[in-house]
Amino acid sequence: MIKSVTRWTIIILAAVISMFPFVWLVSTSLKGAEEIFSFPPTFIPGTIVWENYSGVWNAIPFALYLFNSGIVAVLSVGMNVILASLAGFALARYRFRHKQLLFLIVLATMMVPKEIIMIPLFTTILKMHLSDSLLGVVLPFAVEGMGIFLMRQAFLGIPKEIEEAGIMDGASPLRLWWSVMLPMTKPALATLAIFTFIGSWGDFLWPLIVLKSPEHFTVQVGLSYMLGTFVDNYRYVAAGAVLAVVPVLIVFIFMQRHFERGLFAGSEK
């Protein structure tokens, strides 16, 4: 066993390193114009300046960026959850021709990195007249192989008796899916929802390609745009970045349990 002093030193050091950039970001967002360039840098702001937050809120349409990101996240979560659980249900609970082949196709789509297909996706979105729109950001990733896989696993775990009871009651397939089976997969649904939320809230490359006019920017594209235009005003960028982390933090704190299960989902081979 490692000595407990060594262990605690490692842990505390790692925790400090892990947290420092966040603390530094918050500290920067509360500093005045001169103080952010002071050398040596100050850890706790000499005077706390809340104006950076009102500044970022008023000087740029930051509220609009947050709102756009909210729309993208809600649409992504809704579509992914519904489409993946429909497909996962069919793959788990029905026997049909070409089932293995179709499942293999779903798995194969997981091997294609998003970065590689950006060009054809962009030309497709252009042809659909969806460029520079939030729908254009959401639609290509409205369902993903990983989500279908996750929901299939969840539906596989439901005992046959429950399904049979539903069929005996004369439920139609859609009803069976919605009111009997779907409630049994709540933990997996929650995991899928959280991961889709965190993914779409933080997504950058695709929205950067699709969105052209500032009033359509998501918060990540907006922050990067601010970084380009407010180079000398890092305090505003810092305040904006703090505001943009808050939703992720809230989701994480309230749904921690589901989050952790999701992280390990991929590692259980």
């Binding site: 790692a14 840098p41 994480f252 390990f264």
Partner: protein
């Protein structure tokens, strides 16, 4: 009617996957054989784009940088394994602890980039200040190549370490107590125990991390876009090169050829992974 039910359930998802993943994958290959830009007619040019890539120094530089970035993997494994061994059995991973180590990995990359760009700032940044206390000269974290690749690696290690630590903890939790206790009775020291008992049993976790970490490192883009926006593309990654060619110069054909190269690299990673897993099962 009944036998069609599963197809109705599958249809929307499969249609979207076909339209937005499978067909585009074919298109990338097809585009890579075209001279295709926003402003000109497309024309079939065979493997010209690939030949042009082979002679383009920016391609070789960005390929080199992307491969260099995958070298974070062993470092990340080492750091997060040490951390997991330290945390192990010490306390139940309480909410606060989880928050501390998970926050970096769930924070959007753009925001991570913003935080670190400020820390790396050369004249007034806090990192160079700390180094100056240790009487180390200012390091040009952002403006000097290849230092900026190292900066990106530092960011990646910082972001991944807590996540991989948690994966290692999960792997460690399933090692039977008896195995370790028996090895202690056999009189081997801690280092031998790690090397001969713990590491072999962590093989699935190690392989998983190997693949996840290297496939995400080879696709790095956003970190560089935020950290060093003004730097020439030859100092950045393969995806940065793809982005510049396709979405700043609108060379879709040439960009697609870069995409194909990236696809072959990621496929190779997956293949190696599967082979390693198979070998692991046989022994």
């Amino acid at each position: 009617m009944r036998q069609y039910t599963p197809y109705f359930f599958l249809a929307p998802a499969l249609a979207l996957l076909c339209f937005f993943v499978i067909v585009p994958m074919g298109q990338v290959f097809y585009y890579s054989l075209l001279q295709y830009s926003f402003f000109t007619e497309h024309r079939y040019v065979g493997i010209d784009n690939y030949l042009r890539l082979a002679g383009d120094p920016n391609f070789w530089w960005t390929l080199l940088n992307s491969i260099l970035l995958t070298f974070v993997t062993p470092v990340l494994m080492f750091v997060s394994l040490i951390l997991a061994l330290a945390v192990r059995n010490l306390f139940r991973t309480a909410g606060v602890v989880r928050l501390i180590f998970f926050l970096p990995v769930i924070t959007p990359i753009v925001i991570v980039g913003i935080m670190w760009r400020w820390i790396f700032t050369e004249e007034t940044g806090v990192l160079n200040y700390v180094l100056s206390l240790l009487s180390i000269d200012r390091i040009r974290w952002l403006t000097e190549y290849p230092v900026n690749i190292i900066s990106t690696m530092i960011l990646t290690i910082w972001r991944g370490m807590g996540y991989y630590m948690m994966l290692f903890l999960a792997g460690l939790a399933i090692i039977p107590k008896e195995v370790e206790e028996a090895s202690v009775l056999d009189g081997i020291n801690y280092r031998q125990q790690i090397w001969h008992i713990i590491l072999p049993m962590l093989k699935p976790t190690l392989l998983f991390i190997l693949v996840v970490s290297s496939t995400s490192a080879i696709k790095i883009f956003t970190e560089l876009y935020i950290l060093i926006p003004g730097a020439p593309v030859s100092n950045k990654s393969l995806v940065s090169f793809l982005y510049v060619q396709a979405f700043e110069r609108f060379n879709f054909g040439y960009g697609s050829a870069i995409g194909m190269v990236l696809f072959i690299i990621t496929l190779t990673f997956s293949y190696v992974n599967v082979r390693l897993l198979e070998r692991g099962e046989r022994t």
